[in-house]
Symmetry: C2
Subunit: 371 residues, 2 copies
DNA sequence: AGCCTATTTGAGACCGGTCTCACATGTCAA
DNA sequence: TTGACATGTGAGACCGGTCTCAAATAGGCT
């Protein structure tokens, strides 16, 4: 009764014996390759069913060298952004007959490296990775050198010639910034959740992620072309850790020359902005305008609903998996970087900056006096 | 240049040869089992490094029969609820040296069955499953019979004697209902996202999920003990499909004897309630009170913030993985069902029902007249 | 030195599939 | 009848590790 003899699983040989054929023949029938007469097929299938045979995919993969599995390393599964991407990946993979092994890097390059190692060890047919850093990329170069297909998701790595699927972050940031400028803002902050020791932005060397860099470029470009000087001074990093976000945001908003608008790098940051504002007794859009990356569904039910940059994140995953599958099946053209378009969804979190509202009030006041 | 000779990977034999030792010895060193002299170890490691050896985990798993991998099948990765659970699972698994293979069932029993099949084929050491149905469970029984450890996550299956980790849904539903009753509500709806052809609840046979059943029991029990008759009439199912939720909610709210409070089965449903209410021009908590399952972080920034039932979903995942690992390493005590506690977080979405507000107004009015 | 034991090492079986190749059988045309 | 060729089947090598077992070597002790 205790530990029932750890039942050895049924193998091809067992089935073959029971069906009265050779191991090779049974394997041909069950693996559906080679030829076999209808009679034999029938016998083998019958025996397999009777014995409850289930193929050992490990053994199969070992001989064929193919595992019909793709490995995925993602920054943070808990983040709905990646959740959606993973869903896209897994749908596309399933449709092509592939399974997915998922790993979490926690946006930590060392963990990512370990995860890639493990997945390569498991002989996945290909990899999809959201690289945690543009600097620590030896492991990815190794993957590339080994010849195993690799697709980068959401982020690129400049000197690594592999396929990538990303969104047009730069253009998105530019569009959002322009929208704020058109509403009259001149002091626009970009708050990013990206890892950083120093919350103040001092230059590109601090930035680990291509997306963040692109967005910063977008914000700066749009600002400069509107004649705004030193737009970088309102850029803040490292709003990821709990508590840190609140601190960064409140210091920014209570400092001299405070920004009148914030562009949040994701909806977790946007949430922090909301909470901090509530704590400071400020409101959107009267005291501050807000635009956030990622159209999480809840952003439409806040008061006011948030203007967001919608990213096709399911498609991001879906396409990357499709590309990977194509590579695995042997398409050999040069690696490309596919850029998916984002859309700015205007809701009600952008207003005129406070000083303009005041001017307007003064103007109306004056008009009233005169009138 | 075309297809570079698909580089055969470095094997133990290659390393052995290069180090001038036997395959067995190299394997001992690289697999860190058995014994080897320091000199030999050094030589082998050096050769392995020089050749860039990386173990083939497939081959390793095949001989050992252990894959150091656990398979996970969840209802919907895209749902933040499962995202958090998966994070918990993957943290606990990693800590114990296990990898995770993830599959998505889309809450479809057939897909779940296929996923379990695939994972068993890959010889995972154990499985964590959120079963999509209490009825279609043959595949899970098979897993159990095969002797491979299985842990059910979030939901139980009555006649399947395996470990499970769930939350106290019944008690949670009871507490939420009681809170609504205390606020004066007598017509309380429970709206569930669970799959169903018929949105009207007609009996337990319609229910596929233990969680849903428990919650219904909770709502009904709390209602009955407060002397509310026929509480089941406000139960609605199948609010999962897009569009369907809105239809169900608006019909419910525009029908005769409309409920004055809603208990939403998850935050997707809660979101639907919010949207529908906005469309109907109703507001929370004046026209309707709302309590939702799952403390998604955005529920605290809506206006008003939503009263929720907080579920320890990360822990749910973490514990289930821990239990699974313990089973894999061979602990043989009887399977248990662990129930994790939930907490009702009171925010501002519960108010008095409209009729009481009116009475109060009338009373105050009268009082004013008299006074 | 001589014996005994402990440690290190290598040869080869094994895991459960696939795949190559040789052989048996069947079909058909000359 | 015989040869050419297609088709079905089995024996056994192979994938890349682990693991058993026996042989070789080293070390300790009388």
């Amino acid at each position: 009764m205790k530990r029932t003899t750890s039942k050895r699983l049924v193998t091809i040989s067992d089935v073959a014996q029971s069906a009265g054929v050779s191991k090779a023949t049974a394997a041909r029938v069950l693996g559906s390759y080679g030829t076999a007469s209808p009679v034999v097929k029938e016998k083998v299938h019958e025996a397999a069913k009777r014995l409850g045979y289930q193929a050992n995919e490990l053994a199969r993969s070992m001989t064929t060298g193919k595992s019909k599995t793709i490995g995925v390393v993602v920054g943070d599964i808990e983040n709905p952004y990646f959740g959606q991407a993973v869903r896209g990946i897994s749908d596309a993979a399933r449709a092509a007959g592939f399974d997915v092994i998922l790993s979490n890097s926690g946006e930590d390059a060392a963990k990512e490296k370990a995860a890639v190692r493990v997945l390569m060890g498991k002989r996945v047919d290909g990899l999809i990775v959201t690289p945690a850093s543009v600097y620590e990329t030896q492991h990815l170069h190794e993957v590339q050198r080994s010849g195993r297909p690799l697709v980068l998701l959401d982020r690129t790595i400049p000197d690594l010639a592999v396929d990538a699927v990303v969104t047009d972050d730069r253009q998105a940031a530019e569009a959002a910034t322009r929208a704020l400028i058109e509403a009259g803002h001149r002091r626009i902050a970009y708050i990013s959740a990206t890892e950083s020791d120093d919350p103040i932005y001092r230059g590109p060397h601090q930035i680990n992620l291509s997306t963040v860099m692109e967005r910063i470029k977008g914000v700066v470009a749009a600002s400069l072309s509107a004649g705004i000087e030193h737009p970088e001074r309102y850029i803040r990093l490292g709003a990821n850790r709990r508590g840190e976000g609140d601190k960064i945001i409140s210091e920014l908003l209570q400092g001299p020359d405070r920004p009148t608008a914030i562009l949040a790098s994701d909806n977790v940051v946007a949430l922090e902005v909301f909470k901090t504002l509530r704590r400071l007794g400020m409101s959107i859009p009267q005291d501050l305008s807000l635009v956030a990356f990622h159209d999480a569904d809840w952003t439409s039910v806040t008061s006011p609903p948030i203007t967001v940059i919608a990213q096709p994140v399911y498609d991001l995953g879906f396409e990357s998996a499709q590309i990977l599958v194509r590579r695995i099946t042997g398409v050999g053209d040069a690696p490309r970087c596919r850029v998916l378009a984002t859309t700015l969804i205007k809701r009600q979190s952008i207003g005129a900056p406070p000083e303009i509202q005041e001017n307007r009030a003064v103007f109306q006041n004056n008009a009233a006096k005169i009138g």
